[in-house]
Amino acid sequence: MRIRAQVAMVMNLDKCIGCHTCSVTCKQTWTNREGTEYVWFNNVETKPGIGYPKHYEDQERWKGGWKLDGKGRLVLRSGGRVKRLSRIFANPDLPTIDDYYEPATFDKDILVNAPAGLTDTPVKKPYSALTGEPMKIEWGANWEDSLGGNTFAEDPNIARMPAEAAAKVKFEFEKTFMFHLPRICEHCLNPACVSACPSGAMYKREEDGIVLVDQDRCRGWRMCVSACPYKKVYVNHATGKAEKCTLCFPRIEAGQPTICSETCVGRLRYLGILWYDEDAVLAAASVPESELLDAQRAVFLDPFDESVQRAARDAGHPDEWIEAAQASPVWKLISEYRIALPLHPEYRTLPMVWYVPPLSPVLDAVGAAGRDDSDADDVFHTIQDLRIPVEYLASLFTAGDAEAAGGVLMKLAAMRSYMRARTLDGTVAQELLDGIGMTGAQVEAMYRLLAIAKYDERYVIPAAHAKDAAALEAQAAAQPDCSLDCEGGPGMGGEAAVERFHLVDAEEVRPGRPGLFSRRGDGRRGLTINPMRGRS
């Protein structure tokens, strides 16, 4: 067993109102640069819908993620190593920028410089951020919000559903059954992008499982973009390199939540660590589709199990991390309450951003069917009978297993009714607890975590420096004659190591330095990535 820590996220979709604050703050932090105009490390899309980029879930077309070959072995859907290198001159599976959308900018000067006393209101016009030509805006990162675009029937999840169910979803959708799905990089345990990177520039961090692109080693072969089934790796067309969500690693290392979590208005995001066994990943990704969900859950190790704690300690994880894993809201939602589900487990990448599926569209459907949406019994039966939109949620979160998706919804509905009875007349609805196999204390703890958990209950992130300290102690123990001032020893850093927020020395921040050859035709430069420059 090789025990590793993973920083994982859970989003409670019931609370997402689609305000895009996460997207905007993420963009301001990471992708407000030339070359990344079209890039949203965090995007919020409306479901049902074709998403961003268009139809990204259609893996017949984009060949993202993994599949089992004829002999049951796990292979990248886009083909093996030789096939990939043979397509290096032109990647047939690469989305073009029109599959995302053409980014626009506006001539705001016309508003600023408009003289007083005009009879007509001046209007700013959109210009393409790629060519500078006037353009018509016809698509965006969430064009489908509030029934925009009329493209929902093309949703690959609906296409996969039985025809009868699909017709019902279409019908429900016309009565505005919809919900929002915020998406960031999944920081998968079995990342297809990393596996497809010809240069070996992409990697999964040993310390916290964050998947990153080494900007100095990326050579722009753009295989990661097509291999990622979630289309969460992007080409920066100004630098010619791949970029992706970093899970705000500078903040995570300092024990802070990601920007998208920090600024989430609905407080629907949870961050914490999970223990997993690296040696179990391949097997879990290779099981038949119907067993995928359970296999993915089984990769996580119980932080309360003493043998796991011992293994973690032996692997050099500090006590602070072992405690954090026990307090992890992510562990509770995924493994204890079992109400969080992975997005598209059938891609076999073992994604590490899980979702509590939304109950509200189901309750709407319950009401529309003439049942009582406050009566858990009625909700149970309706969820079982109606199948809609449970089938749809199942194609998103459980590889089509409607029973598993329905089970989670029943837990949420039962919690709702249990808490209603508890609050209104102080009774304990034991029959509800029996129905979902949870104790009253568990349901109340789950309710608290979902409804009123405070900042430090939602974000339990052990800072990275504790791990460094533990590693140094281990090193000192292994080499008793090594003075503290040796390389890597605590003596070498002193004040600088404590005070620094930067991850690397100023000279090492290559991305922040405009490359000699990154100057474009119009004299502008490529990327500047160091958000803290001038402060070191």
Partner: protein, 248 residues
Amino acid sequence: MSTLLWIALPYACLAVFVAGHVWRWRHDQFGWTTHTSQLLESRLLRLGSPLFHLGAFGVIGGHAMGLLIPATLTEAIGISEHTYHVVSVTGGTITGVMLVAGLALLIARRFVSGRIRRVTTTMDKVLYAALTAMVVLGMSGTVVINLFGEGYDYRETIAVWFRGVFWFQPDPALMTGAPLVFQLHALGGFLFLALWPFTRLVHVWSAPLAYLWRPYVVYRGRRGPAPAAQPTPAAVREAGLHPASTRR
């Protein structure tokens, strides 16, 4: 003059080639990329790029064959001058046409698509111009002189001089008699090498062959020390209630 052209210039270009690569590798890892633009334009690239690259492999292989293998060696293993000529002209024409077609498509793409035009750097323009000049000179040597013309046996002169450069015994007399097209192509070749490290051509040296036997998932540790932990909001609130404890 001939010493300058056929001895000094090749060595100067080779020196720039080597030193340029060392300098760029050490100082511009971030700029070391194919600089892909397939995101912005895929239709012409899907055709042009494989044609160009496969053609270029053939052309480079052909040059290696023609310049590095001495005529005496091919004769010794029983390949007649005629057979060699047929193989080299046929192969050279096919790969050359692929290269020309691919290059034409890639250049056309730079003009046709406004998106591509805007991301084209000055160095890209220089590179395309140099490539075009080299290909035109080379193809006119192969097609005009060796395919339809009276033919010129470069293996007895140019190839010997070229190998001499690497033995540090280049004989400029071998080059002075060559047709002008071949002379220009040879000089252009060395100038092209000097240009190489300053263009996106450096991606050639990053051909990812190691991918074939690497494990799929790459794990890597964090470089450098971790930042200090930031105080939690609760700690900040706490400090706000007891300001004396935080005053420094």
